[in-house]
């Protein structure tokens, strides 16, 4: 299994996105609920730098009257066309065919390990 390794100090703070780069591959790291997630730094819609310049936002729902904001902020909003992607699944709720590439990420001693193997749901 091909992996990339980065120093643990490269990990983002909770609620933040941090992009790491190796061999021309840019991967955004996000802490959500004590779990580290990895997403490609490329929006599947038009190729924008999703992780480098995107922002984490909350999922917001409404029943037509009340507006509910869900915790934590687990949607990554594209810096260009403002589409939101679920950090856990890579899916865009508003455009189901659009899914950002995900990477399996874990901590090993003082390193962050990113698997380059395709993530299958």
């Amino acid at each position: 299994m091909r992996t990339l390794r980065f120093p643990r100090s490269e990990a983002p703070a909770p609620g933040q996105v941090r992009t790491v780069e190796s061999g021309g591959r840019r991967i955004g790291l996000v802490w959500i609920d004590d779990e580290l997630h990895g997403l490609a730094d490329a929006c599947p819609h038009r190729g924008a730098p999703l992780c480098t310049a995107g922002m984490l936002v909350h999922r917001v729902e409404s029943d037509g009257v009340r507006v509910v904001r869900h915790e934590p902020a687990d949607r990554l909003r594209c810096p260009w066309h403002k589409w939101d992607f679920d950090v856990r699944t890579g899916a865009c709720a508003e455009a189901p065919r659009m899914r950002v590439r995900r990477y399996r990420v874990w901590l090993e001693d003082d390193e962050i390990v990113v698997s380059l193997a395709p993530v299958r749901d």
């Binding site: 038009r46 190729g47 924008a48 310049a53 995107g54 922002m55 810096p79 260009w80 403002k82």
Partner: protein
Amino acid sequence: MPTYPWVHPSGWIRRDTYDAEQVEAGSMFPGFTLEQLRAHVLDPFDVAFALANPDEAACFSVLPNSRLAAGLASAYNDWLVDTWLRREPRLRGAMVVSAQWPEAAAAEIRRMAPTGLFAAVFLPGAARIPYGNPVYDPIWAAATEAGLPVVVHVHYEGVGTSGPLTGAGTPDFYTEFHTLNGASTQGHLVSILCHGVFERHPQAKLILMEGGLVGYVGVLWRLDQNWRSTRSEIPWCRRRPSDYVWDHVRFTTQPLEEPDDETQLAEVLRPLHPERTLVYATDYPHWDFDDPDQTLRTLPADWREPIRFRTAAELFGVPVPAAA
């Protein structure tokens, strides 16, 4: 300055065009440096010729004070020359003029055109009177005399002295505004055709920017249909209205409509003759920027070269290498 009553929920400007922390600290205005334009657009996409449109300056034409508008337009054009156009040879400007005072606008065109740094005269979609009305003839005459096309770009609809966004009344949400703002450029096009602007100014060229493309197809079908029945009202519109479009009007790509089935778009646009009327546009640094490679990939192969550069080169008189 008049400004929009609608606010984009997450920002008008591409978030990678500015440093969010500096902007939040108030030490930077988002999105507007020449260096970023070079890094994001001109260099990576190998751009040889780009037209710089105004953003906030587009509202001068809907100020109630026409003298202030004319002064601001001149100041903006001078600033654009000094700050951008003289520093970047790949850029040409779209000249801002005071549409509400056409004589002053014409004088501004005659003042700035000799610099050779402007490639178009800019008018916003927002207007008190549609641009075909004879009151605007000084602008059409001066632009034509200078060999400059007139750009009408979606902007500031429903703001300042302009009419409402549509006949439906004022919408509540930015989403509604952004969906419907193409009504302004469609309205100007119909006005320009019905008033016979291209009969009075046979060399005039018009570029319609933003607001979507599919809507023009239905509007032109309907206009041609109505013209057959009601042309006695507008005898100066001697030809079928859409026939003027193919000779005098060009449209820009951004933002292309995105149907679920992407193949439907080309079929729907075909009546606009995109292979001769469509020109690529970025809308950089706005949030709905289109990447040229992505845009062109969604369109038929035989449209791509004219959209990428050939139609624009003809329109703006830019030489194209024979092998291109």
